[in-house]
């Protein structure tokens, strides 16, 4: 691996670097296309057909169809791009964020109201709480 990556030991976090960007290029550019209202409609009409217009991997397409943002991120997606899928679905950013944490939206919203997720135990992979 050629890039120096000091950020690989942060738990639950994928830094969008050049390697991720290359892997996710077409996935993210597909998301970008959803900034046009006509494309949002075409996607909603037939998601699979719309996705098949992009040279994405099958895993990327399945992750989008399943609305599994963690899988999308593992496949090279960046959250600012992926947010446009949520916007197309009429979902809030908080809904999307919650969906990645394994919490219900209510649980996640309650955590945020109580001051958010603590950094304690969340700084290093394998760190004790």
């Amino acid at each position: 691996m050629a890039l120096d990556k000091p950020y690989l030991d942060v738990p639950g976090t994928t830094i969008f670097d050049a390697d991720q960007s290359r892997k996710g290029y077409h996935l993210n550019q597909f998301c970008m296309s959803l900034m046009k209202a006509a494309n949002r409609e075409a996607f909603k009409r037939d998601e699979r057909a719309y996705l098949d217009q992009w040279p994405m991997t099958e895993e990327q397409k399945q992750a989008v169809l399943a609305r599994d943002l963690n899988r999308c991120i593992a496949a090279g997606g960046n959250i600012y791009f992926l947010a446009k899928i949520g916007a197309t679905d009429g979902k809030s950013f908080q809904y999307m964020a919650a969906s990645m944490t394994g919490m219900t939206q209510e649980q996640y919203a309650a955590m945020m109201l109580a001051g958010g997720r603590s950094p304690e135990g969340n700084r290093y992979i394998g760190e004790k709480n």
């Binding site: 942060v10 993210n28 900034m35 963690n70 947010a83 949520g86 001051g115 997720r117």
Partner: protein, 288 residues
């Protein structure tokens, strides 16, 4: 000559824009947040500048992965609020200041900053939410923002983003550029984004109040020290999107004390958790 009168720092959470646009600002969830910006709106009314140099980041709106500029300065006559997928925010066109923007671009490029000059660009919530927070929502028969804005977009989407040190140095170059402009303009420089937040993955929702408050303290009193903090500390302590805070260092670097002048006056300071997924921080520093 032009001069920098003050710097303003604020988060630019998209949900704040949505709350304002949908008339929710008086709801219990949002009320404490907007209350924190009431003194700011009064201060802006009393201290409206001739131009705002607004440092923000684009969130995969104007810039896709086709081209990712580290630093991009908007030299156009106007900039349209973007459709980020929910339709454009119902706020006015942003009027630019092409002459001052071109002057700053020329000056800082000759000062060894490798800017990208942008003449066509839609602006997203990163720029329009701070405008709404500081000015309120423009209304009436001829709604318009009260002054022109020079958008300055920083890459914080794809790693590596510019270092805190680089951002702080850039702010110093921007101050020199503005002070060499031959019209007597009052210029504010705004740094936006942050504070602690993470929008992605199982760690989403991270908030670090001690980190945020220490950042505010140090931004005021020891900005050069804060500028030396490496990226990884922001990621680890303030969340992957907390890295946006490096943009505050551009605005801070443009203040007079960094060039040997007097320390600024802290006109307002505010901190609130949460706004959607994010901690909200806000400062107003006046040059003396």
């Amino acid at each position: 000559m032009a001069r920098i009168t003050a710097s303003v720092y604020t988060s630019h959470v998209p949900a704040i824009g949505a709350a304002l646009d949908l008339g929710k600002s008086q709801e219990p969830y949002w009320q404490p947040l907007f209350k924190g910006y009431e003194p700011s709106k009064q201060w802006m009314a009393d201290n409206t500048p001739d131009v705002i140099f607004l440092v923000y980041n684009d969130h995969a709106t104007a810039f896709s992965l086709e081209m990712i500029p580290t630093f991009a300065i908007g030299t156009a006559a106007s900039f349209t609020p973007a459709d980020e997928g929910w339709g454009p925010r119902p706020v006015p066109q942003v009027i630019g200041h092409p002459e001052l923007a071109a002057h700053i671009a020329q000056s800082v490029i000759q000062d060894d900053f490798d800017l990208t000059i942008v003449n066509k660009m839609d602006v997203d919530h990163g720029l329009t939410v701070p405008m709404s927070l500081m000015f309120g929502q423009p209304g009436g028969p001829n709604p318009a923002w009260p002054c022109p804005v020079i958008p300055f977009a920083v890459n914080v989407v794809q790693y590596p983003v510019p270092s805190g040190k680089r951002c702080f140095m850039l702010g110093q170059a921007i101050r020199r550029a503005i002070e060499s402009f031959d019209q007597p303009l009052k210029v504010q420089i705004w740094g936006t984004g942050g504070m602690s937040h993470q929008l992605q993955g199982p760690r989403a929702g991270l908030i670090n109040q001690p980190f945020d408050n220490a950042f505010l303290d140090r931004l005021i009193a020891d900005p050069a020290g804060q500028a030396a903090v490496p990226h990884i500390d922001y990621v680890r302590e303030a969340g992957s999107e907390g890295i946006e805070l490096v943009m505050w260092l551009i605005a801070r670097g443009a203040m007079a004390d960094v060039a040997g002048g007097p320390a600024p006056t802290v006109r307002h300071r505010f901190y609130h958790v949460p706004a959607s997924n994010t901690a909200v921080g806000h400062l107003i520093l006046e040059n003396n």
